[in-house]
């Protein structure tokens, strides 16, 4: 029979973008409710801002750990754990590095009962052995990632494609405003606006997608290039659902021409009217 001490401690390091610093959170009550604990009794959470260009200040942290009233040996062990976790956090360029709970047994052992780190995508490519995607992404999302496309699967039946993450998010809002349910989020822009053809194929791979809505406002991503990709997808006979496109901005005139030539009928220069049309057409199917 082993008794576990009733104290549980959580430690978490995160980046605080507003202050451009790393944040260390320590609390005496750990566990999965730490976020609600932080809201309910913020005084129980110790929070440190660390300038990522400096080293961690061991003296300050030692002082906080002392407030947990553990023996000196255990306090030193905890301090070493905090410092080591911080090295992991910086070395692996983590979004978060968490040990929660850190358990102190009645025998005086310090045990990390659970620990997890999450590494930013940009750094994660350096550690292919740690890439663990099955838990977070659906099959389609993983396929999209392999193609370099930002696809997020949702529940509805309206396939969405557009340029610009913000515009794409607003497209989801427009469809919902008219009573529609998006099947996905997918932006082609920046580094990926040449991939419009592949993007269309991906969106249509999801079962239950009954109509496709493309919302494009060309800025850097040019509408004429995007339209060529879309036209290829039509010509290859891969599209068997109605399609509605709104196209404006850089290259829009050429783009719309390309789409008309490819046989597309529902072309708008206004995403509000296009969104309304999509939901209307869906209702008639």
């Amino acid at each position: 029979i082993v008794f576990y001490n009733t104290f549980r401690r959580g430690k978490r390091g995160t980046l605080d973008p507003i202050n451009a610093k790393a944040v260390l959170i320590m609390s005496e009550g750990g566990g999965v409710q730490i976020e609600s604990t932080a809201l309910a009794s913020p005084e129980s959470i110790i929070k440190y801002y660390i300038d990522i260009n400096d080293n961690i200040n061991e003296e300050h942290i030692r002082g906080s750990i002392d407030s947990f009233n553990c023996s000196r040996n255990i306090s030193e062990t905890i301090l070493n754990i905090v410092v080591s976790l911080y090295s992991v956090f910086t070395e692996y360029e983590c979004e978060t590095a968490e040990i929660n709970p850190l358990v102190i047994t009645s025998d005086g052992d310090v045990v990390a009962a659970d620990a997890r780190i999450s590494i930013y995508d940009e750094a994660a490519i350096k550690y292919p052995e740690y890439m663990k995607e099955e838990d977070i992404y659906t099959d389609l999302e993983r396929t999209a990632r392999r193609d370099g496309l930002g696809y997020v699967e949702m529940d509805g039946d309206i396939g969405v494609i557009g340029n610009g993450a913000g515009l794409n998010m607003a497209t989801l809002d427009i469809l919902t405003y008219f009573g529609g349910r998006p099947a996905n989020f997918l932006e082609v822009s920046g580094r990926t606006y040449h991939k419009a053809q592949r993007a269309v194929e991906l969106v249509l791979m999801k079962p239950g997608v009954k109509i496709l809505f493309g919302n494009f406002f060309g800025c850097i991503s040019r509408c004429d290039v995007i339209a060529q990709g879309l036209a290829c997808a039509f010509k290859n006979g891969k599209i068997n659902v109605p399609v509605v496109i709104s196209m404006r901005g850089t290259g829009a005139a050429e783009g719309i021409n390309t789409l008309r030539t490819a046989g597309l009928k529902e072309i708008f220069e206004d995403d509000i009217e296009a969104g309304r049309r999509v939901v209307h057409l869906l209702g008639e199917l």
């Binding site: 910086t90 913000g166 998010m169 809002d173 998006p182 920046g190």
Partner: protein, 289 residues
Amino acid sequence: MSILVNKSSKILISGMTGKEGTFHSRKMIEMGTNVVCGVTPGKAGAKHLGVPIYDSVDQALECHRIDACGIFVPADHVYRAVIDAVESGIKLVVVITEGICPHVAVRFISYARDKGVTVLGPNTPGILTPQECKIGVLATEYIKKGKVGVISRSGTLTVEICYYMLQEGFGQSTVIGLGGDPAVGSTFRDVYKLFEKDAQTQAVVIVGEIGGTMEEELAEYIKKSENKKPAVAFIAGRNAPRGKRLGHAGAIIQGSIGTTESKIAALEDAGVRVARVPWNVPELIREMI
């Protein structure tokens, strides 16, 4: 008057001779931006788009006074490019490049802040004062001189909202892209404070999105401000699924942090009108002015 840049601002472009650098520098110059030189290591002595190229920022500063720098170099070189710009005394650095790990961004943002340098980005479409100065990639056709300041975390959506504004007769004093990453050099609050002091700006439009707490930070500031200007916001991503990153690295709802509900509530509590759909923004501006 505008903020941060105007027609007399002297601009240096880092990475000017690359494909993206060339394409966008040409557009910046066409618009009337005072691009005085570019930096590409190894190409000193060359001329590109009519301006001299130097090996380094320090070299460029021996010959020119520079007010601001636009960074178009690939992601791996951005850290060095920003540090060099800051060390040489340039006071505004605009990082267009995307794909930089937030850890690296936090390092150079922190460093720049300590030296009193303003950073926009990374992953920003840049800054545009219509008819005067553009650093970045914002589409000038839809942005015209006027009285409303625009601060945004997105690129394309910013231009769409400017387009809706123009249709209702509202032009822009300066348009500022903060960038889509979770760690960026300037926040809504930082830029809003500048607009408060700008006589030309009568109102401010905030284009926010899910993720982080920048909008909440702004709301807290506006509540206490003695010089507040009328503000209208649109927050994208209300229909975003939780826990997934939507395009921008910074656009993700984590637990209870970063929801549109939280941002809208905070902003409305501070007296900011929040449009539920982007095309309602101009109507709200009209009501506020």
